[in-house]
């Protein structure tokens, strides 16, 4: 039974995290706005130099983007529009940026979510094997694979997987589109992000396996029951959850390369394209989105950690 005062402190803790999250998101979006304005100069210049707008049209676009106003006013307008979900319009296609992002979002979300699930499956398997069977060959192999996962560039695993699948499929005319289009890239992305998860679980589990209470349990004969594993794993769950929040951000940049190698549509390629074309509203919209997603995943991770480990709640 949870007492009333306990529940009260819990609510307070949650509220505090949420407020902090909003603060971070605001700071991150602000940083993105100013960093982008200083890094890319006049957003309309590239349009003008490509002949896609006459000087008069360019001036018109400047006005419609509000670029003639002082920077602080532009910033306030950007924030106000952002709150309403309005990210402006693309310089090249004059379409709503929110709509362009929404179109590409499902593809990236499918890739990122499948990638994350596979990362968790690989990460847990490798981490637990490495710690539990630490003195056996299989444990060492698991540790080595986990180390490799952090070290091989996504570009390289992607290319290798295409080469291998290409070789296997030669002669067999199959058009299993989705296997190539979703599962394979997700596998590549998941493998790359499983390394850090495996490492955290490996070290956390190794430590708790050495703790007196586990040693005692083992001595009592519960040698390698799943119950024991469950108990020993629990302390590593909180760091794993914070890590997943970080991974969510990694997935965003990981998709840039994965989508390129596998010719998949999505936000990663939209981003590269917008940066190279100088389509400033799209870049800014995506960077703001990345910052907000990052903050949300951190807040959610914090809250989950609070739920899992009541000690942290009391520490508030």
């Amino acid at each position: 039974m949870v007492s009333k005062s306990h529940r009260h402190t819990a609510t307070l803790a949650v509220a505090r995290r949420l407020l902090e999250g909003i603060g971070t998101a605001w700071a991150a979006v602000t940083f993105a706005f100013f960093a982008l304005r200083f890094a890319s100069g006049d957003p309309v210049a590239s349009l003008l130099s490509q002949g896609l707008a006459s000087p008069e049209q360019a001036e018109e676009i400047r006005i419609s983007l509000g670029l003639n106003a002082p920077l602080w006013l532009q910033y306030l307008r950007f924030l106000a529009n952002l709150l309403q979900g309005d990210l402006g319009t693309s310089l090249y296609t004059h379409r709503s940026v929110s709509q362009i992002i929404l179109e590409q979002f499902p593809s990236t979300a499918a890739l990122a979510v499948s990638g994350l699930i596979l990362a968790l499956i690989f990460g847990f398997t490798l981490g637990i094997t490495a710690a539990w069977l630490r003195k056996r060959t299989s444990g060492m192999i698991a540790a080595a694979i986990a180390a490799l996962a952090t070290s091989i560039p996504v570009a390289f695993t992607g290319i290798l997987s295409l080469l291998i699948v290409g070789r296997l499929q030669q002669g067999h005319v199959t058009s299993n589109d989705l296997f190539i289009r979703l599962f394979l890239p997700a596998l590549v992305l998941g493998f790359a992000s499983s390394g850090p998860i495996a490492r955290v679980i490996h070290s956390g589990l190794s430590e708790s396996l050495r703790s007196p209470f586990i040693l005692a349990a083992r001595a009592r004969g519960i040698h390698r029951g799943s119950r024991l594993l469950g108990h020993a794993l629990r302390p590593s769950l909180a760091p794993v959850i914070s890590l997943i929040a970080l991974e969510a951000a990694f997935l965003f940049s990981g998709t840039v390369v994965t989508e390129t190698v596998f010719s998949r549509p999505g936000l990663g390629r939209l981003l590269v394209k917008s940066i190279l074309d100088g389509d400033y509203p799209i870049t800014l919209g995506l960077v703001a989105l990345a910052a907000i997603l990052y903050t949300i995943s951190h807040v959610v991770a914090d809250l989950l950690t609070l739920m899992i480990d009541p000690r942290l709640r009391r520490a508030e």
């Binding site: 210049a45 590239s46 130099s49 490509q50 002949g51 896609l52 707008a53 049209q57 319009t89 693309s90 090249y92 296609t93 004059h94 379409r95 709503s96 362009i100 179109e103 590409q104 593809s107 499918a110 979510v113 499948s114 699930i117 968790l120 499956i121 290319i159 295409l162 290409g166 499929q169 030669q170 005319v173 199959t174 058009s175 299993n176 589109d177 989705l178 296997f179 190539i180 979703l182 599962f183 997700a186 469950g230 390129t260 190698v261 596998f262 010719s263 549509p265 999505g266 390629r269 939209l270 394209k273 190279l276 074309d277 100088g278 389509d279 739920m307 899992i308």
Partner: protein, 531 residues
């Protein structure tokens, strides 16, 4: 605690299973579906507003144009216009339209529809990137009766019919244009062509279905009706992924296959290779004539002589591309009289550089003049095989004692930025087109793409006269021959090879032919193997 964990596990399980399930869904492909691979994902696909050549691959068959250019005879043939007349001053083009044509949405095609298309293109709020310029000095359109319309020009404009034969000036349903407006119409396109537009998901796919009512095809089509029911276009922007997509049978037809891969595929019985020559400019590099050292004709000539074009083309493009010596391709411009073949003569190049004062001291890697090192800044675009060619140019030029600084611009924006800064000596860009007026924006003093910075009143005069000579095709031929000669004599450009699109097709697919512009397939003529 325990139930919590079980629930999480369950959640993971459900997500995994659903992911796998969606991955195993059988594809709902009917027998008569063709998968056609595109190689660039344009930022927009409204042909009236966007400039990409890629959009024409599907849309060339969604729209009909007033006239068509016959790739075999080089003559214009009737399309939506049954016939046309040009006034003797070249200022009025009268088009007599077909009366039996309906758009895919049922709207009848008439003079009003033509006028609304032109108004849509010329409306400055719609920001047309290409079609509006293609209309040149068009002043207005006049409707004479329901099926007769006049294009009134401010001055004669010889390329007008060529413009009107291209998909960028294809006729769209005025009802749909009104309904959707400039930014959304691209998702709901309605034309009169042999294929209907079904859907467009950016960066993912475009779907077309055959138009059963099509009965007004031009003489350049072999078939009167399409036979493939459904065509799905997917994007393969990454050149390395294309051959693999064909081998996996993800795509039935794919263009822009890297040359070595095309040879490999062609050697298999499963594929056939059709190299399609694209009319326009060859892959080329312009020399900046406004800055030292390339302001010196001798230096430019030396740069030309130092390049072993034959071996460059053979290395990068295999046996599929003709070596180019001209600012215009052979395909589509057969009337350009024979030009002297380009020589590879490093000794001659060294001599020219010495005459220009660039001396190579022993023990020094690079030539110098008054303590200034001979540096060439070479800028290349990332697409096609520009990057590979540029690397070989660099090797050839270093060979005669030039310090070459090579930069591959990651996109058109960066390329144009470097160009506007003027900080380059040689820069690569090439455009495609079936009318030689294309040269004007590159070589006229005030041309938008005058990246050589060269200014010559005689060239300007000839370019302008040729652009206005609508009714004197022989005079045009004469003028453009002189212009081409002047460009070569001044060593303004280093042409490398004529553009050839290597299209690989699965065995059994028949009838693949391309329009005069080279890029666009006549989808109506494609036939799938009978099952």
């Amino acid at each position: 605690m325990k139930t919590y964990k079980n629930k999480t596990l369950l959640l993971f399980l459900i997500l995994t299973v659903s992911t796998l399930a969606s991955a195993c869904q059988p594809s709902s492909d009917a027998e008569s579906t063709l998968h056609y691979g595109l190689t660039l994902a344009p930022s927009g696909i409204d042909p009236h507003l966007n400039a990409s050549a890629e959009l024409g691959i599907p849309l060339n068959s969604v729209y009909d144009t007033l006239v068509f250019l016959d790739p075999e005879s080089g003559e214009f043939v009737p399309g939506l216009a049954e016939r046309w007349e040009i006034s003797s001053d070249g200022l009025r083009y009268t088009f007599y339209l077909r009366k039996d044509v309906r758009f895919h949405d049922g709207t009848p095609f008439n003079a009003q529809a033509v006028q609304e298309n032109i108004d849509y293109i010329l409306n400055p709020d719609n920001h047309s990137q290409k079609a509006a310029t293609m209309l040149g000095p068009l002043n207005q359109t006049e409707i004479l009766d329901e099926h007769t319309i006049v294009f009134v020009l401010d001055e004669p404009f010889a390329p007008l019919l060529d413009s009107l034969s291209q998909v960028y000036l294809g006729m769209a349903s005025p009802t749909a244009l009104d309904q959707w407006g400039a930014s959304e119409y691209q998702f709901h396109q309605v034309g009169t062509g042999p294929y209907r537009f079904i859907e467009y998901i950016p960066n993912d796919h475009i779907t077309l279905e055959l138009n059963p009512d099509y009965a007004w095809g031009p003489s350049i089509y072999d078939n009167t009706k399409a036979s493939v029911e459904r065509i799905v276009f997917n994007f393969y922007e990454d050149a390395a992924s294309r051959a693999l997509a064909l081998e996996r049978r993800e795509a039935d037809i794919l263009g822009e296959i890297p040359p070595h891969e095309a040879d490999r595929l062609a050697s298999s019985a499963d594929f056939s290779l059709s190299p399609v020559a694209i009319p326009g400019q060859p892959l080329q590099f312009f020399f900046n004539t406004t800055t030292s050292p390339t302001d010196d004709l001798r230096v430019r000539q030396a740069l030309l002589l130092a390049v072993d074009k034959k071996s460059v083309v053979l290395t990068v493009f295999g046996s599929h591309s003709p070596v180019s010596n001209s600012p215009l391709s052979q395909a589509g411009y057969e009337w350009i009289s024979e030009l002297p073949p380009s020589a590879h003569n490093p000794e001659g190049a060294r001599k020219l550089l010495e005459e220009a004062g660039w001396i190579l001291e022993s023990q020094e890697p690079y030539r110098k003049r008054d303590n200034e090192t001979l540096v060439i800044k070479l800028i290349a675009p990332p697409w096609g095989s520009n990057s590979e060619v540029a690397q070989l140019l660099k090797a050839g030029w270093e060979n005669i004692g030039i310090d070459v600084e090579l930069t591959i611009a990651p996109g058109f924006g960066t390329l144009k930025e470097v160009q506007s800064s003027g900080d380059y000596h040689a820069i690569g860009i090439n455009f495609f087109g079936t009318d030689p007026d294309l040269l004007r924006s590159f070589y006229a003093s005030d041309g938008f793409y005058n990246w050589t910075g060269f200014s010559d009143p005689e060239i300007d005069r000839m370019l302008n006269e040729a652009a206005r000579a609508s009714l004197a095709p022989d005079r045009r031929v004469e003028l453009y021959n002189q212009i081409v000669r002047a460009i070569i004599d001044n060593a303004l450009v280093l042409p490398i090879r004529d553009y050839v699109n290597l299209v690989v097709v699965h065995q059994g697919i028949e009838g693949l032919k391309f329009s005069a512009q080279g890029w666009f397939p006549n989808l109506i003529d494609i036939q799938l193997p009978s099952p």
